[in-house]
Symmetry: C2
Subunit: 349 residues, 2 copies
Amino acid sequence: MKQFGSVLDTHRAQVEDALRNALVEAGGLPLYGMLRYFMGYEDAALRPIQGVSGKRIRPTLLLYIADMFGGSPVALDLAISIELFHNFTLIHDDIEDHDELRRGRPTVWKLWGINHAINAGDVQSLLANRYLLRAAATDSIGGAKAARILNDRFMEVAEGQFFDFELATCGLADERVTVDTYLEMIRKKTSVLLGAAAAAGGVAAGCDEQVSATLFSYGESLGLAYQLADDTSSIWGAVAETGKEAFGDVVERKKTFPILHARDHGFSERLTELYASHQPLTTQEISEIVDILNNSGAQEATRTLGETYVQIAKERAQELPIAKEAIQTLVSLVDTFVQFGLPITPDGR
Amino acid sequence: MKQFGSVLDTHRAQVEDALRNALVEAGGLPLYGMLRYFMGYEDAALRPIQGVSGKRIRPTLLLYIADMFGGSPVALDLAISIELFHNFTLIHDDIEDHDELRRGRPTVWKLWGINHAINAGDVQSLLANRYLLRAAATDSIGGAKAARILNDRFMEVAEGQFFDFELATCGLADERVTVDTYLEMIRKKTSVLLGAAAAAGGVAAGCDEQVSATLFSYGESLGLAYQLADDTSSIWGAVAETGKEAFGDVVERKKTFPILHARDHGFSERLTELYASHQPLTTQEISEIVDILNNSGAQEATRTLGETYVQIAKERAQELPIAKEAIQTLVSLVDTFVQFGLPITPDGR
């Protein structure tokens, strides 16, 4: 773990410098200041700060894998692009979900209004593309291929967002709301971007299609496992550890994997009833839903499925034609990133 | 004019086929159906229709200029990209301006809600990128350069949108609301995309930087002239001819060139007062503003400035190293596209 940590830190520092430069070079307009604010480089008055930034898992993974396959002159451009893209989707997600806080700070729409936030996200997507074009225009054939992988998967993220809206507007008893639909939604919305990071890193460094597919599957499985762990901690996670609201996904009536599991295992009628109302759930109703989840074995089922994806990710890592140490690093990353092991208490405190 | 018409039609038909294919190939999800709806290829139930489409001026200009410089294998990809980009900005503009109709049809947000409309615009921007990446990845060095020109100018359009929001929130007396700021806003928001269409067409076909700059200036001046003509017809245009609301920009208290001209020529106090209220303007107040505009010579001033840009565009066309007939076509396009000559009546009927 320690070894992986230091590998991660080296690449993360490189990403962080490049990202900050990219957003400074973008321009002096407050429009770009909003982007620097969101990335943690400026405060709400657009003054530079040393803030807490995101995990930068996608670009870090991309750079690390490119290095493990011999390196690529365009890996850093691709890494910047994927992180700019990911954060652009968050700026728009915050508008769509009416979220007022992210990483403990007011969201872009909350500070500057919805119009500026839509436009700021739009320009960040275009900036992400600038770095893809740079990678595609180099002589290295791998750069163009890797850029295309990223662009295609960026579109798939928007498709995942579409499915998310569709699921959100359906009732819990709607026949379109299935475990399969949910898994397809989180695959597109969350997982393909991790798959794309891994695949693009390898392809940029010249690896072939078979290895690219293995890399994609590694990242995708990692992403699915991560999301299922998040589904668990968003209900049962200890508030002190996660910083999340107690039973948050229940309070928000989200239709995540644990809920769908309980619905499909004998609790359909009562859950559908509790989910159908537009009134906020009472404390008693929240407790009732958590009891239903616990009685249906939803937490164990979510963890079991998540650990299946953990296993797939680790197997994919072991299939890669890279040094044993590098394989071990990728295996460790799965355990670092997917935290089913977080202290989870039945009452969520 | 007739000759230009037929040139335009050939290229426009080519663009239209390619655009329709691009949006069919994008995928079968309703997410892509929304885009086909917006482009006029499907109805609100997502069934194919033979609808009225936009003018497609940008991609048509791009293709025509590429052909005049000997053609380019990537011109069609670039043309698709610029039209997809332009329409993506309109999908988001409609959200931002709360517009419920465009080209006589309900807007995307009006039909499917704001969240879907944000996401649909996002995926269309990414689809526009796909075609830039295709152009950049070909062997032709011109393709990569032209793709970069488009991406850079796409970002400038978002900067123009930023300035537009800023102007809209300032009072008419605010020192930031100047003719220069307004012209810079319309330059970025409207004109650079026409400049980029012309320049990218030439660069893709191998023309040098000096010619590229001349082409850009041609398109940019055409765009500025067009916008000033639009400022005129959005106040004085005959309702029957334009399909616009009588005195529309006045009714909406827009701070366009004619208004700023009047403000700067002796009518600052009363105009600022009438613009400061948040109540809808009465019929009498609208008449008073139109009288102020007429007394200040705002219509003539707008037309005079617009005709200056018309002249610049025509001069740039004449500087191009292309056949005389092609120059004449580009000169005619200015007159076709910029219609200060529309019947304009003092009372806007």
